[in-house]
Symmetry: C2
Subunit: 441 residues, 2 copies
């Protein structure tokens, strides 16, 4: 008999069905044994009655997380026994049970409040809760919305390499690799490749893992994450990317409403509202506002502190009723060498951060497209253009004005869902002292 998914059982009341899944909870009332069965689609309560002798015997044996296939009768519950939620109006009477897979004794009781380390030690088990499944369902929908929007806007997807030949920017946070008889490095972003690809397809995007050898072990850092990147050519200035990102976020939020309202409800989180036009201001203006509204004088500082970002979001919410705000025109010295300097505001760049509910979720901007300017910007940062020769070809052989953004999927998921620690929005988080299991020092 064709397997029925648990979410569809309401269509089978009064009928016999085959369902399959994990024993989520088992309650032994002697003659009656109740089993909650869980599959990819939901849960249902089943009951084993003593008159189905064989089925009752097996029900007596099974334990949590055993995997079983059940032939059962879908019965409507009496009115007074009906409950809210999925399958609250029905119960499956077990007729036959086939054990597909046994489980050993679990290391802790279901629904135990776990500390983070225990949660991470037992991920193959602890990821199986409704809450964790909801988090990663939302993550999946975000990444799919990102791609679907950009495909619809004629962006071409490409696969960026992760092994890179030189740590050209000389950053501290780069992992080093034995590459046969040479050294190589792990990419911290697909930046150079997406700019090169603008020369090929004009508008491109990529989704892939990037790596940061940061020693911090905080709630905001992980050493490997999924980077969502797009880059587009033939732009006027940084507002083109801000507009594209604005639309992409609107599209994503619509998709979340359509596919993930239940998951947001389960996690007590609110799907963000994206305004038609996300407000934006220059860093300088933002600092003036902070001074005026919150009394702290950070005017002239090259960047925003975390507290400043929180204040600005508070201000944007109050003033523009927006969870989002763009801050533009960070100073040249705080941005990478490829960042475009605003001719009308020398010393400051056509770059931006997008702040959301108190935190930066995206960095983007216009890039330098003129070869000679880029070479001199590289030199100004004290770097050696020779080391960038491969990348520089994109500019040497003609590239249009362009720019793009990058954002971390796990951070975005965490912020959308109000999850405090990014490790809980990352399936298998890598940290300084853990790769799946704890590392020995």
């Amino acid at each position: 008999m064709q397997r029925v998914y648990i979410k569809d059982l309401k269509d089978y009341i009064g009928k016999e069905v085959t369902i399959a899944g994990w024993v989520d909870v088992r309650r032994d009332h002697g003659k009656l044994i109740f089993i909650d069965l869980r599959d990819m689609s939901g849960k249902v309560q089943m009951v084993a009655l003593p008159n189905h002798e064989e089925a009752h015997k097996i029900a007596n044996n099974v334990r949590n997380e055993w995997v079983v296939e059940i032939k059962g009768q879908v019965n409507e519950r009496p009115e007074r026994m009906k409950k809210e939620g999925l399958n609250g109006e029905l119960e499956v009477e077990i007729l036959e049970t086939r054990v597909l897979s046994e489980a050993k004794e679990l290391p802790f009781e279901k629904d135990t409040e776990l500390n983070l380390d225990t949660y991470l030690d037992y991920l193959p088990l602890t990821l199986r809760t409704e809450e964790k499944k909801a988090v990663f369902k939302v993550q999946t929908v975000i990444v799919q919305a990102f791609r679907d929007f950009l495909i619809q806007e004629n962006f071409t997807e490409f696969q960026a390499p992760k092994i890179i030949g030189a740590d050209a920017e000389g950053g501290a946070g780069v992992f080093e690799l034995e590459y046969f008889e040479n050294k190589a490095f792990l990419a911290t972003s697909p930046q150079f490749y997406k700019q090169i690809m603008v020369g090929v397809f004009e508008k491109v995007f990529s989704v892939g893992n990037v790596f940061r050898a940061e020693k911090h072990n905080t709630t905001r850092h992980i050493n490997e994450y999924t980077s969502l990147d797009f880059e587009m050519g033939f732009i006027e200035d940084h507002h083109d990317m801000m507009e594209t990102e604005n639309k992409m976020l609107k599209f994503t939020v619509e998709r979340l409403k359509e596919k993930c309202q239940a998951e947001f409800n389960l996690l007590n989180a609110e799907i963000p509202k994206v305004p038609e036009k996300i407000p934006f201001m220059k860093l300088k203006e933002a600092q003036e506002i902070i001074k005026k509204e919150f009394g702290e004088d950070c005017v002239g500082e090259p960047d925003l502190e975390p507290q400043h970002e929180r204040w600005l979001c508070e201000y944007a919410k109050k003033e523009f009723n927006s969870d989002f705000i763009f801050v533009t025109h960070y100073p040249v010295e705080k941005r990478p060498m490829y960042t475009y300097e605003d001719e009308e505001d020398p010393g400051f760049t056509k770059s931006f951060d997008l702040l959301f509910r108190g935190v930066e979720i995206t960095t983007g901007g216009q890039r330098i497209h003129n070869y000679d300017k880029l070479v001199s910007a590289i030199k100004k940062k004290g770097l050696d253009p020779e080391k960038f020769s491969f990348y520089l070809q994109a500019f040497k052989y003609g590239i249009p004005p362009h720019g793009g953004i990058g954002m971390g999927l796990e951070r975005l998921t965490a912020k959308f869902l109000g999850i405090k620690n990014i490790k809980e929005a990352t399936l298998f988080p890598r940290e300084i002292n853990r790769i799946d299991t704890l590392l020995n020092k």
Copy 2:
């Protein structure tokens, strides 16, 4: 004025438009200067006439790969001047030119036949040809079809980590990494994680880079590639995965017909035909056929040689009119420790390879789901179950019968398009002596 894409110019005959792109070719006939302009959508011939003095002067200056924005008049060509193909019926008369970006002198003439090393040395330039764009457009459509099919079949996408803690299988082909004060490794496949995720979402897939430290420098090897993987629970046996893959390939080919017929034509390649049911046979049977039909006795050998794979494909084409054939039941000793042994054919596994036009493009199979059996299979391979403790939790805590497949995107692209060297179906191929540029030994 809103920019018009070059492929849409036929809708603007008799009108003024703004177009933008790269100078693909420039031909100077003195008074008349012809420029072929290339954008993401196609090419068009433009002409600068001496009566538009300023535009003519700029047209005189521009060189190949300069990026320009053109205001022009779309004129229909006289009948006798019309050509086949995109925009063969029209020409753009240049009215105004804005240079967006200059290019330095190119290292070689357009359309020069390049050797592979020169092609790779200059990728930011050499990827810009119609042929290379066609290859990577097809690649993009393949990966999108893979995902779209699986999403439609209720598979959940997940992000697999690339940094792994232990080279548990002890293979030679693994890259080693400095991970703070420890060693780590780069994943050669998402295998363990996708099996773990079957415990969470039942049916999962992932697309991501994997890494092989293989020293061969051949037309079939690269050291980093994109792996397309799915894994599904609650199966009967390996035929479930073969059937899912069969459907996925049919879906992909339909998508290619819809989106990439022009690219296949340009590359003189034929979109493969996928039969309703791809033929399959056991390794033993395949070897008997090779003996009988091609006269070589390889019966009893543990694997197929490249020549055997070519012969089998020849046979499948002749006998079943199929470009594809599944070979199942490779012996236990030739497959990884997690491969399911067929109870009815001891010593042989419920695994398969998919052969296509002479080459293996996928490996898949059913996996061991019983914890004790898996532990003993690990020991039989001479490995230490202790090192697999994280992965083993998925089985210790109950997992359904399951299996999956993995395939390399670049190899698939190459085989579909009849490209001999996989490096030409990889955007930025990593090889033993090259990461973008040649490495020093």
